[in-house]
Subunit: 354 residues, 3 copies
């Protein structure tokens, strides 16, 4: 029984509340269903055949159509928000994100984070918290593992700084780790006509750039419905009354919304990239707001064989999303600075049938 | 076979069409599924673990995650609209609302109402209709029982007034009636870390006030999607062409939308209030429109033991929702008048694990 | 393996790419679930008891509540867009659309089209393509069959014109073909109180006009969510950045959205028209945009017995949908021209219990 006089609302953790090695079990467990799949479909419009069709998925070796990996990511990420980033100033980065197991509708996901790094900033007002977060299914098996780091406010500037520890993180997930979340598939049974693209793994080359052509405008109702679906409680996404007086004057769209939009757009050019295996890193370069139109293009950074796998190969992709800016000329950086239209720079691995 | 020359559209009932004791079977039966659960999640963002997770629900004694009680309420309420309130001027109140049985996805709900009171107004243009409405599942078992009263137009001012009957209604549902909709749970198996709040029944005291802190802005698409989900056909929610010439100049949001928003916001401070057992009364103090931001706070009006139940206790809550007005100072009334920001005054019972 | 230097994005087919007799297997197969049903319910608000309630559907002879026929239509139609109409200037018409089999949640739908007519336009810039499209379930059984014709751009004006072939199409589907998609029902078990209307087949007369009374305003989020649900990729619906510079200055709503809205509105007056059996023809008379309010009215064009069926009869309906224009006076045409408020003129068959 807790102290009845204590505040009942969750203030979130401040920088000085985190301890190196601390393990945080997050609320709220969530059974993800075909209801969520339909809503994700309506909000983003993905067309990857494996996630769209039980029949297609079974034909190549899945038990049924798995959940979109990004839906799994958003649900797990959402759980970490009340404990990790409620008092965050900025979400600084992701690394070493691996999808470890196909997740099917009906799975119940929960999440646990470990604090793996801490560094107070020179101004003593904020610090950087590094956490490794893991998503688990109802059998207790890990389905997702990733690191993110966020800049978190201190409650009290005078609170002593913790011992500094900045974890070493891989620049990219190794190819040997990419196959875990994808069952061995029957690549011959993978029907590229039904899948909507004739291009298999062997058709892509490092350095190749693809404009995904289409654009999609975002509405307030859409991003709020999506973000609530993940039980992500970050206040900046939902409260126009407060945000009207804030830095942007409007609600900021959850960064993961742009990732899902870019992934759905990338079907046009990467139609057989049926599985997101890992995210090497991601940067939300600029904020996205309702009323803007998102475009995307991708560059194949590398191609890789998976040790012991003849069914699939991996493409390392950089996908750039922009706002109100079509991408036929692949806008990216001018020197060190991003093109002002860029909102997302995502480095990740996808699997394709051979 | 009906008269082929009769109008085929439903004009709704007018005051003089109701008869004391009349029983009205409502259309349309509705199978409520995990699809509805997902949409409800996306629209309101509840985080109560019991409704969110099959695993959590089973661990404490449910068959699986039950439907949110308010989703059940809205679906049953929606069925009554075409017969009871299509010609209503105002929805005046609710009383004696009891959730009688856990409802699981897949249940098919229908509704029946009985006219339990009638009183013509002095102006002879309108009258008040009191109905007891019951929701039933496919096995014919009652899942919900509540009284509401509405002011309904007369078709013909000259129609004779019925004998006046105003039913006596309880100010609050008795604690002995609160356990019906909640199976006996294993309170020790209720994991407060996973549930997201350390505070159990014993941590709350009568008189305690809790600001739920967060705010959520409502969009037109959201409230219309929700209200159609319940097959609620009240015209004022959907038709901007007509409403632009009406009293408010815009679509009025279904009052139940504010109830669901307030309930979801109340998680922050009442995270273990996992079951809405009864609604003692509710008042839609002022209309809500799209673009406004809803906040909420609650007062614990009373705590109660349930006879024969050691697993759960009941909190009687008053939850106040406001528009564009944060609630750190608990805005309520100035004398007899509500604070102008208040939109909802809801008096209800929730159950919490001991 | 395709040519790695080839463009990876889908340019769609141009007029000269089509060949008479050509068969096109479309991507992406799609498992349609109760999640989609819930979202369709939230977006359109249909109240036909058969599609709403497993219990009601079983009582009259269905296996369970079938998918709304129009949801099946939209999903199949959506699949044809990337191959047939990505470069279309206009969607000219539908004919001979027949719903062949009840489709239940869990079915996986795919689509195949055959080019049955080609005619280059005199300007040599465009041509008309006639396709017969068929939707199939996971067992390979046809569930839907329809013809549509679209005006498609040529890639190269100098490309030679194909041999002209304009298919003969029926003005209306024959009554003998209307029963395929509806199991033999137990009309006595069809409960008109639960269904929400007392009017059976015998209560309607050819020539009868019904104003469906209600109006519903459309939001951008709603039509985009719906259209993505169908995986319909037509760009004009999603990209405000491009459309702001286009013909209308705004996103055009998918024509099928108006059909679903009109069908849902038609419940008020046609509540027992539980099955859409066929679409004889349809014309999207004028574009629909977000913010406008849709109204509808219907005329019974004909009534028909189904050979060998005593359980149901068919009504041939013309349903007219308008924007920002109530329909008590049944707006239709002034001479040859449609009333400027009309957006949809749909000629179709519904079944009703006897």
């Amino acid at each position: 029984m807790s102290d009845p006089s204590a505040a009942k609302t969750n203030p979130g953790n401040f920088f000085e509340d985190f301890r190196l090695g601390q393990e945080i079990r997050h609320a709220t467990p969530r059974t993800v269903t075909i209801g969520d799949v339909a809503l994700y479909q309506g909000l983003f419009g993905p067309r990857f055949a494996v996630q769209s069709s039980d029949t297609f998925a079974r034909a190549i070796g899945y038990r049924q159509a798995p959940l979109d990996e990004l839906l799994v990511f958003h649900v797990v990420f959402g759980k970490t928000v009340p404990d990790i980033s409620l008092n965050a100033v900025a979400n600084l980065g992701y690394a070493d994100c691996r999808f470890l197991k196909p997740v099917y509708p009906g799975a119940t996901l929960n999440a646990v984070s470990e604090v793996i790094g801490l560094r107070e900033n020179a101004n003593r007002k904020t610090g950087i918290v590094y956490v490794r977060s893991r998503g688990f299914d109802e059998a207790g098996e890990a389905v997702l593992d990733y690191v993110r780091w966020v800049m978190v406010r201190k409650r009290d500037e005078a609170a002593p700084a913790p011992a500094e520890k900045v974890p070493e993180l891989p620049k990219a997930v190794e190819p040997a780790q990419l196959g875990t979340g994808c069952p061995k598939i029957d690549a011959a049974a993978y029907d590229t006509v039904l899948a909507g693209s004739p291009h298999r793994f062997g058709d892509y080359r490092a350095g190749e750039k693809i404009d995904h052509v289409d654009g999609v405008t975002v509405e307030e109702a859409e991003h709020m419905i999506a973000t609530r679906l993940y039980q992500n409680t970050a206040r900046i996404h939902f409260n126009q009354f407060a945000e009207s007086m804030g830095r942007f004057g409007r609600r900021l769209i959850y960064g993961g919304h742009a990732i899902s939009l870019a992934r759905a757009l990338s079907f046009n050019g990467l139609g057989n990239a049926f599985h997101v295996a890992a995210i090497n890193g991601g940067r939300h370069v600029a904020p996205l707001f309702a009323g803007l139109t998102v475009f995307a293009w991708s560059e194949v950074l590398a191609t890789a064989e998976l040790p012991g796998r003849k069914d699939v190969g991996a493409l390392r992709l950089r996908t750039i999303a922009t706002k109100d800016r079509p991408c036929p000329d692949f806008p990216f950086k001018d020197g060190d600075d991003y093109d002002p239209a860029v909102i997302l720079d995502l480095d990740y691995w996808v699997l394709m049938p051979k």
